[in-house]
């Protein structure tokens, strides 16, 4: 079917969308936005985290058809006018990236945390990132990055 939705502020249209497919598949394979990563396809890893109408969700668990008429913001939409978001800059500065596969999901989750809780405790950071797995186990640097971003 044909879908109309807003992605990163732009109206987008996709044709021949298969209803059984996920929002993640739609974003990556039809709309050319491969920032959101596909790993577990069952909501365990958080690598596909995007905002759906302002709420962070696992895009692998949203049916593409459920995004009709809704607003999606992906990791590609966090940098404004070419300037990286403070969370993205902090991840770079803290070296909070090893293989990088989990990074987009962690950045979106951390971005949401700081929008809700400007000065989060370590407990709040851990809780907010509990649904994002890093199999390089670089969590300490990730926590540093979120603390750094919060100070800005």
């Amino acid at each position: 079917m044909r879908l109309n939705l807003t992605v990163n502020g732009e109206p987008r249209q996709a044709d021949d969308v298969w209803e059984g497919e996920s929002l993640l598949f739609l974003l990556r394979e039809r709309l050319g936005l491969p920032g959101s990563k596909n790993a577990c396809e069952q909501g365990e890893c958080g690598s596909c985290t995007v905002y759906l109408d302002g709420t962070p969700v696992c895009s692998c668990l949203v049916a593409a058809g459920q995004a009709e008429g809704r607003a999606v913001r992906t990791v590609e939409g966090l940098a404004e006018e070419g300037d990286l978001d403070r969370v993205q800059r902090a991840f770079l500065e803290a070296g909070a990236v090893q293989c990088g596969f989990c990074t987009p999901g962690l950045i979106v989750a951390a971005h949401d945390l700081l929008a809700r809780v400007p000065d989060p405790s370590d407990g709040e950071i851990r809780e907010a990132l509990a649904g994002n797995l890093c199999r390089c186990t670089g969590y300490e640097a990730i926590l540093d990055a979120v603390r750094t971003a919060a100070r800005r």
Binding site: G20, V57, C60, A63, A109, A130
Partner: protein
């Protein structure tokens, strides 16, 4: 408008080279009446709300429904309201995140269970309606629904019916939900009395319960002769279970010792006996998450501890004599 799209369903395992196709309809009702009409016409349609269970089935090709019924366009499913007698009517599509933030004080047990569901992303999408629809014995909210005496509201074009949670579950991932029915709401009695929920898992997030337990105190029942303690066991039987013997034992124990009017600390022997009776009420199996023996042991511990916490809270509310 309930729009139906007829599309092609590919076998994703041979996505690029197979000619195998399958029609699927994506039903998108915008009102409850449309949704019920659609479900009556297409009882085979799989309802999808937060998608945290249904999409996993689809992503892994475990389910190939002929139709999906998207419930996220129905505003009233995502609302909760007061029932007028102090209780809450919780729309089946209210997310766990909203239960925690909007109803944490009024539905303490349900909010505790909701906090243990998945991760922030999952709690933003998952719903109690979905927990009930899946009817997995491991669903996190079931023990609380049993302990609090909640009811499930089911609707179809034939009418509305309300089923006590205890009668809703009939087997592993099976419930009394008829093929033409949708889960519309959960009715939860109002309370000011303590409730507790606890769950065993390998970490605090993203865990399917090894076993779980909920307790709700019902001091308002003390004068009626009804059970003053509600219980619910999760992930330790083919369905979520009540521990009725444990409820009976504790109800009698609390009444005989006049504990409701002048509460005092419970004897350790009472808490242990309660835990043993809860463990005895379970019928766990060995599976990948844990052994039956471990589940029984853990349930006895959970029951003893949650009773201790709930009773401590009751004592603090009523008196300072409880030490």
């Amino acid at each position: 408008m309930c729009t139906t799209y007829s599309v092609t369903w590919y076998d994703t395992t041979t996505w690029y080279d197979s000619e195998e196709i399958r029609e699927v309809d994506f039903l998108r009702p915008s009102s409850m009446a449309e949704a019920l009409a659609a479900k009556a016409e297409r009882p085979d349609a799989v309802p999808i709300a937060g998608g945290t269970d249904v999409m996993v089935e689809l992503n892994f090709d475990r389910t190939r429904p002929d139709a999906l019924l998207d419930l996220t366009g129905i505003a009233e499913l995502a609302e909760w309201s007061d029932t007028g007698d102090g209780g809450i009517r919780l729309g089946a599509g209210v997310s766990y995140t909203r239960i925690i933030t909007e109803l944490g004080q009024r539905l303490p047990g349900l909010a505790m269970a909701s906090r243990t569901v998945g991760s922030p992303q999952i709690r933003n999408r998952g719903t109690v309606g979905g927990n009930l629809g899946a009817a997995s014995p491991a669903g996190d909210t079931h023990p609380v629904l049993l302990a609090t005496g909640a009811s499930v509201e089911l609707a179809s074009t034939r009418g509305l019916r309300t089923v006590p949670a205890e009668e809703f579950y009939v087997g592993v991932k099976r419930s009394v939900l008829a093929p033409d029915e949708l889960i519309t709401a959960v009715l939860l009695p109002g309370t000011t009395a303590p409730q507790q929920f606890s769950k065993i898992g390998t970490r605090n997030a993203m865990v399917i319960a090894v076993c779980s337990f909920a307790i709700a105190l019902h001091p308002e029942q003390a004068a009626t002769g009804n059970s003053t303690v509600g219980t619910g066991i999760g992930s330790a039987g083919p369905t979520p279970l009540r521990a009725t013997e444990a409820e009976r034992f504790l109800t009698a124990e609390l009444a005989n010792a006049d504990q409701w009017t002048s509460p005092r600390a419970l004897d350790d022997s009472v808490r242990r006996r309660f835990g043993d009776l809860v463990a005895a009420a379970a019928s766990p199996i060995d599976d990948v998450r844990g052994s039956a023996a471990y589940r029984r042991h853990a349930l006895a511990v959970l029951a003893r501890r949650t009773l201790g916490w709930a009773w401590w809270d009751y004592c603090l509310e009523r008196t300072s004599r409880c030490a």
